[in-house]
C-alpha cells in the first residue's frame, strides 16, 4: 500500500516535472518566436493602444455619447487597415459608456493616426461645450502587427510562408512534396543561422553555423542547398555543410569563387507548369532597395515584353529566388517595405486565369 502510494506520488511528480518542462519549453519557444517572427493575427498591441486612448477620452469631464467617430489616418496608413482600427476603437469606447453613432447630429470624435520615426501617435479631438479637448497616446511602431499583404489575382499563385525581422538570405524546400518542410537561411545579428520549419511554418530546428573567419558584409547573400538530410550553405567567401541529424558538426571551408561582390540572386530560375509541362523563366526588375519589385515569368521562347508574360508585384525588393526540387514551385525572398520584415513566398504557376 505504501509502495503504491509512493509510486503514485512519483508518477504524479514525474507528470508535474514533465508538464513543467513542456511549459518552460513553450515559454522559450514563444519568446523566440516573438523575437523572430511577427504574425498577422497578433492584435493585442492594437487593442492595448485603443484601450489606452478610450480610457483617456472617457476621462474627459462632461463628455457624453453618442459620438460620431471620424477616423483620419496619415498617408502611410495601409489600405484595408482602417476597418480593423475603427472597429477596435468603437468597441473600446462603447465599453466605457461612450456609445458611437453614425447620426450627423452626434458630437464628432476625431481620431488621427500619425506615424513618427519610432511611434504611432493616436490623437483624439472633440468638443465639450466651447472647450476643445485633446487626448494623445503613442505606441512603438515595432510592436504593431504587420499589414496583411494583398495578393494580385494573377496566374502566378503565391503564398506567404514565413516572415522574420531578421534578414533572410535564402529559403529552400526540404522535400519534393509541395507542402513539405522548409529551410531558411538567416543573417541574424551578423551571425548565420539555418532554420528548419515544419509544414505548419513553425521552427522545428535551429542550426547556428558559427562560421569562423566570415567577414561581416553589407550585402550578405547566401544560398541554401539541401539534399536529403544534408545541407550545403554557400556564403560570401565560405561554404559550409552539415546534416540535420548532427547539427553541431558544421564543416566550413574557404570558398574563393563566391566573392564579396556576388550578390545577384539565381537568375534564370525555371518553373514547370503543371498544365502542359511548359517551362517558365523567372526574371527580376531593377536593383532599387527602396522600390517594390515586379517578378516576370516568361514562357519558353517569349520576351519580357510578350503578352504571355505573367507579372507579380512584391511588397519590396526581391533578394533571392530558389526553385523547389520538384520544379513546380519556387521560393521568393523579399523585403516588405511597409513593415521592414523579410518574407518568404512560395510561388507556383497555376492553370487558367
Amino acid at each position: 500500500m505504501q509502495s503504491s502510494a509512493r509510486k503514485f506520488r512519483q508518477k504524479k511528480w514525474g507528470r508535474s516535472v514533465g508538464f513543467g518542462a513542456l511549459l518552460l519549453l513553450g515559454v522559450f519557444a514563444a519568446d523566440y518566436l516573438a523575437q523572430t517572427c511577427v504574425f498577422a493575427d497578433s492584435d493585442s498591441p492594437l487593442k492595448e493602444t485603443a484601450r489606452k486612448l478610450a480610457e483617456r477620452v472617457a476621462g474627459i469631464p462632461g463628455l457624453r455619447g453618442p459620438l460620431r467617430l471620424e477616423w483620419h489616418p496619415d498617408e502611410h496608413w495601409a489600405e484595408g487597415e482602417d476597418a480593423r482600427w475603427r472597429e477596435t476603437l468603437r468597441d473600446e469606447f462603447a465599453r466605457r459608456m461612450l456609445p458611437m453613432s453614425d447620426e450627423a447630429g452626434a458630437g464628432a470624435l476625431s481620431v488621427y493616426a500619425q506615424q513618427t520615426p519610432a511611434q504611432l501617435v493616436l490623437t483624439a479631438k472633440t468638443r465639450v461645450g466651447d472647450r476643445e479637448e485633446v487626448r494623445i497616446v503613442a505606441i512603438p511602431r515595432a510592436v504593431l502587427p504587420p499589414v496583411e499583404t494583398t495578393v494580385r489575382p494573377v496566374r502566378l499563385q503565391r503564398q506567404l510562408v514565413y516572415q522574420s525581422l531578421d534578414r533572410i538570405l535564402d529559403a529552400a524546400s526540404l522535400s519534393n512534396n509541395a507542402d513539405g518542410e522548409l529551410g531558411v537561411l538567416l543573417y541574424k545579428n551578423f551571425e548565420v543561422v539555418v532554420l528548419r520549419l515544419d509544414a505548419k511554418g513553425e521552427i522545428a530546428q535551429t542550426v547556428s553555423l558559427n562560421v569562423t573567419g566570415l567577414k561581416p558584409a553589407r550585402n550578405p547573400h547566401g544560398e541554401l542547398a539541401p539534399l536529403g538530410g544534408q545541407v550545403s550553405v554557400q556564403l560570401w567567401g565560405k561554404s559550409c555543410d552539415f546534416s540535420w541529424d548532427a547539427p553541431a558538426e558544421v564543416k566550413c571551408r574557404a570558398e574563393k569563387a563566391f566573392s564579396l561582390e556576388k550578390s545577384a540572386w539565381r537568375m534564370g530560375t525555371v518553373l514547370t507548369s503543371p498544365c502542359d509541362a511548359s517551362h517558365w523563366t523567372i526574371s527580376g526588375g531593377g536593383n532599387d532597395p527602396t522600390a517594390r519589385e515586379v517578378l516576370r515569368l516568361m514562357p519558353d521562347g517569349a520576351s519580357e515584353e510578350s503578352s504571355a508574360t505573367v507579372m507579380s508585384e512584391f511588397p519590396g525588393p526581391v533578394w533571392n529566388v530558389n526553385a523547389g526540387q520538384s520544379g513546380g514551385s519556387a521560393l521568393v525572398v523579399a523585403r516588405n517595405l511597409q513593415t521592414g520584415n523579410y518574407e518568404v513566398y512560395k510561388i507556383m504557376v497555376v492553370c487558367g486565369g
Binding site: I136, A142, P216, N219, E261, A264, N341
Partner: protein, 511 residues
Amino acid sequence: MKSTKSWWFAAVSAAFLALPFGAVQAAPPRYGGALHVKLRAASVSLDPREWMPGSPAAADAGKLASLVYDRLVTLDDYGKFQPALATEWTHDASGKNWQFKLRLAVHFSDGSVLTPGDVIAALQATLGRGFEITGTENAVNVHAARPAPDLLEQLASGRNFVFRAQPDGTLLGTGPFFVADVVAAAPTEANPAAVKAARMKFQANENCWAGRPFVDVVEVTLGEPALRQLFDLQVGKADIAEIAPDLVRKGRQEGLRIWSSAPRTLVALKFDDALTAPASDDLREALWLALDRDTMANVLLQREAQPATTLLPQWLTGYAFLFESPMNLQRAKGLRADFSTGVVGAAQSLRLRVDAQGDLFKLVGERVAVNARQANLWVQLAMPSGANASTAAVGLRLFAWHYDSLSPRAELEAFVKQIAQGGDLPASATDPEQLFAQERRLLEERRILPLVFLPEYVGVRATVHNWNASAWGDWRLADVWLEPEGAGSAKTASGAQKDNSTTARNPGARP
C-alpha cells in the same frame, strides 16, 4: 497614311527609348571608387562633445561623424531599433534602468578593442547629467535620474556616438571609415584673395564589424558656395552635394536627382527678454497674427518649405497638425490700434536681427518686416555687422534650429534650454499628451514665433547607387556604391590606393 506612319514611327522610337530602362538587370553592388561629397559648412568638428544642440553646424558634423563612429543602436525606416554596438538591451518597468549588452570583438580603426569603459566615457559626455553609466565585463548599465522610455530614440540620434578620446585629442571610432586626411581652408597660391576650401578624406575601414563599406574613400569638400555645389553636381565633380532650398527648383529643372528629408530646420523669431514683459503682450500677439507663413513657404521659398506653427515638426511628434495657422490680419490691426504711441513697434520701430547665416534667412526676415507693416507694425532689419553687432540692442532675432534628436521630448528640452533659457521639462513629458501641453504653453507665451520648416535637400548623381537616406537625414553613406565610370573613375580609384600608405598612419577623427 502619313499620320499612321508617324504614329508607328513614334511608337517604335518610344519602345526603343524605353528599352534600356525597362530591361534593367539587377547589377551587383560594386566595391571601390571615391565618393565626392560637397557641404556648405566651412568647417566641421568631429568631436560630438563640442556640438551645440540645434546648430546647423552640428547637423553637418553629425553626417560626417556617422562615417567614423557607431552608436549603440540605430533606428530603421520601419520604426524598429536595430542592434549596432549593443546586441541586446533590456530595461525595467520604470524606464530608469537600462542594460546594453555589447557586441564582442569590435575594434577601433587603430585595431584596439572596444571596451565598456569606452562606451561609458563617450556616452557620459554626450548624454550628460541625468544619466549615470556603469559597466560590467561586456555590458553597460545606464541609470537615468528620471524615467527615460525614450532612451533608445536618444541613443539612435544626435551626438550620442561611441568614440575613444586619445591623449592627443584625436577621437577614434569603430565606424565604416576613418579620417585619413584633413586639409584646412587656405588662400590659393595663384590668387591669395581666393580661399581654397577645406577638405576631409575618409578611408574605408577594412575591418569594420558591420562589413567594409562599398566605396574606398569619401572625399568631403567644405565651404562650397551653393551655386558652385550645383554646378559641381552637373559636371560630375561631386557625387553628393547639399542643395540650398532656393536652388532646388533650378536643380530639378536641370534634371538633377534631388532627395529631400523630412523638415529638419525650424526658422523662427525670438523676442528679446526686454519685450517679454506683460506690457508687450499685445505687440507679440499682433506680430504672431500678422505673419503670413503660407506665403513665406509657398512663394518666397517656392514650395520647398512648410509653414510652421509649432516648435517641433509633425514627423517628430505626430500631433503638430493640432496647431492651426494663426494668421488674422484684422485682429492684428485691432491690437495695434490699441497700442500707446510709446510702445516699440508702434511709433518706434522694432529691430530684427537675422542670426541665421545665409541669404535665404535674410529674405525671410524681410518678409517678416513686410507682414508687420501690413498690420501697421514697424520692424526694421538689422544685419549683424561690425564688432558690436551681437551686443547692439534689438527686439527680435531670427534664428534657425536644427532638429538633432529622434526623441521629441529630448528635442523640446534642448530647444527650451538653448533658445528659451528654460530648464528641464517635467518627467511626465515623455507622454505625448504632456509634451503637447508643454509645447502649447511655450507657444502661448508668444516669445518664440515659428515661421517655416525647411527640409534638407541633397543632389545625388545618377552613378550613386543604394542611396537610401532616412527621412530624418541619416545619409547611410557606408551602404552607397558607385557605378563604374571610364577612365575618370579608374584614376580616382588608383589615387585612393596610392594614399593608403599615408592614411594608415593617421587613423581616427581629428577634432
